[in-house]
């Protein structure tokens, strides 16, 4: 009798430990996803305009899954300590639902990250930056978002691969700004404290030191990659751990007598 008692105690201890870890991971997941959703780099308008902002949807799901994991882990601890079959059954069913949601979030973040290619942002920048004839309200809003974001980005860089993007392709910008005065937008020029180019002629020629010569793709893809991989990999780790804890809980549940 003592042996099975010890076995039960060990099982309970392990399950409680597992649930504590799940609770803490839930809090961490919520915090991470809130950080991503708050968009500290201001890149959300670019994703919104591509109509492919599923990695933001994945982050939103992650916030709620984190809360759910915290609550369910407390329920699980109580159920294990009381050895209550009803509580543990409720725990298992709700955990499975949360598991399904988190699976969806992880897979979405991982697969949609692949869509964020340089060409996607290049085409969007050329089509929407400073576009003057917008079709409807939605188009206008997306255009304004893209223009504002790129104006911000161009303080440090120019174009997606470089300033020559503006020369190599036609664009909506080129419709309203002639090539001789604006080989690339003046926002690409190095500015002084009053937001004026320090040497406009040097900037138009492309003299080093008067314009931003590097492309913006790194500044865009770095934060977005970190977001996508953060949600995907951390969620994956949580799910692997939860899988083990759930299996243990089901085993414990089936051994409890009514």
């Amino acid at each position: 009798m003592a042996k099975t008692d010890n076995g039960i105690r060990i099982c309970q201890g392990l399950l409680i430990l597992g649930n504590v870890v799940i609770g803490m991971c839930g809090i961490a997941l919520t915090a991470e996803c809130i950080f991503f959703v708050s968009d500290p780099h201001g890149l959300y308008p670019l994703l919104e305009a591509t109509e492919n902002n599923d990695i933001y949807a994945a982050a939103w799901i992650g916030i709620f899954v984190g809360f759910a994991l915290l609550a369910l882990s407390i329920l699980g601890i109580v159920g294990v300590m009381k050895s209550s079959k009803t509580l543990l059954l409720v725990y298992i069913i709700l955990m499975l639902i949360t598991y399904a949601f988190e699976m969806a979030s992880c897979i979405t973040a991982a697969t949609h990250r692949d869509f964020l290619t340089p060409n996607l942002f290049l085409k969007q920048m050329l089509e929407r930056y400073m576009k003057s004839d917008t079709d409807n309200n939605n188009d206008k809003q997306m255009t304004e978002g893209v223009t504002k974001t790129w104006d911000n980005l161009m303080l440090q860089c120019c174009g997606v691969h470089g300033p020559l993007d503006w020369q190599e392709y036609t664009s909506a910008f080129r419709m309203t700004h002639n090539d001789a005065d604006y080989p690339w937008p003046h926002n690409c020029c190095v500015m002084n404290t009053r937001s004026e180019p320090i040497n406009l002629d040097g900037c138009k020629l492309g003299v080093p030191g008067f314009y931003n010569s590097n492309g913006c793709y790194d500044a865009i893809s770095g934060p977005l990659n970190r977001q996508a991989w953060g949600v995907a990999w951390f969620g994956f780790a949580i799910l692997c751990w939860t899988f083990c804890v759930l299996l243990g809980t089901m085993f414990y549940w089936s051994r409890i007598a009514y």
Partner: protein, 256 residues
């Protein structure tokens, strides 16, 4: 007589031209500048010192720009009034621009080391106009030193300069090359874990429900709690009596 006429004509031409051909070849400015050739402008290196032997203080240096296939047919203007204007480029296939004092090309002249052709977008109708070039070209250029009496010196024609031609943005293909293997790995592992969990839950719940049903099906009894029943103590039988048992001790039987 005819030979004399031809000789006189040749001498007359030379005298009228008085033109020195400088060996300098104009070229696009060297150096790493992405804006040196755009769709409507290009940047030339500014030649220094080459006009000094020929120039007076009042002379001006012009830049002649012609389509590459029209450069051979270009005729130098005889005076400043006959300079082909910028607006005549589509028909005359050449024009002259960038009129500057010869001192600007002197050996120690200050100013930028480059000349931008096509950089002035606000000079409509005002001669000389350095307006943007209307087509990608190719173009050839040469410098011409003009005095009061006509051209005094010229450089050679440059190599053909081809301007940029922008591609349509609809040629950009934003679809990714291939799905990354990481996404496939995550999706596969998570799907299999989810399926395993679902199986495990179904199995656990199923065995819990099936246990009573399965045993009944085999004819076993429901498990029930057995109470410990103590063996019954023998009751003390009433004393033997044949007629009308009363608790009194047996006495003689009443006779009927």
């Amino acid at each position: 007589m005819e030979l004399l006429g031809v000789l006189l004509a040749l001498a007359g031409m030379d005298a009228a031209a008085g033109l020195a051909l400088l060996p300098y070849v104009p070229r696009v400015a060297p150096g790493a500048m992405p804006g040196k050739v755009t769709a409507t402008t290009f940047v030339l290196e500014r030649p220094r010192c080459i006009f000094d032997p020929f120039a007076n203080a009042s002379d001006a240096v012009w830049l002649a720009v012609a389509f590459a296939d029209a450069s051979a047919a270009f005729k130098n203007p005889t005076s400043s009034a006959e300079v082909p204007p910028y607006e005549g480029l589509p028909t005359a296939r050449a024009y002259m621009t960038l009129q500057m004092a010869a001192a600007a090309y002197g050996c120690s002249a200050p100013g930028a080391a480059v000349l931008r052709v096509g950089g002035d977008t606000a000079c409509h109708g005002r001669a000389p106009c350095n307006g943007p070039l209307p087509s990608p070209g190719p173009y050839r250029v040469k410098f011409l030193l003009m005095g009061c009496g006509g051209p005094k010196a010229e450089t050679k024609w440059s190599d053909p300069i081809l301007l940029r031609r922008a591609r349509s943005l609809s040629t950009i293909d934003p679809t990714p090359a291939r799905r990354s293997s990481t996404a496939v790995v995550i999706a596969a592992i998570l799907a299999s874990l989810g399926a395993a969990l679902a199986m495990a839950v179904l199995g656990a719940v199923g065995t819990q429900l099936c246990v009573p049903l399965c045993r009944r099906g085999l004819g076993a009894h429901l498990p029930y709690r057995t109470h410990h029943v103590p063996p019954a103590l023998p009751h003390t039988l009433p004393p033997a009596c044949v007629c009308g048992c009363t608790p009194r001790p047996p006495g003689p039987c009443p006779t009927k």
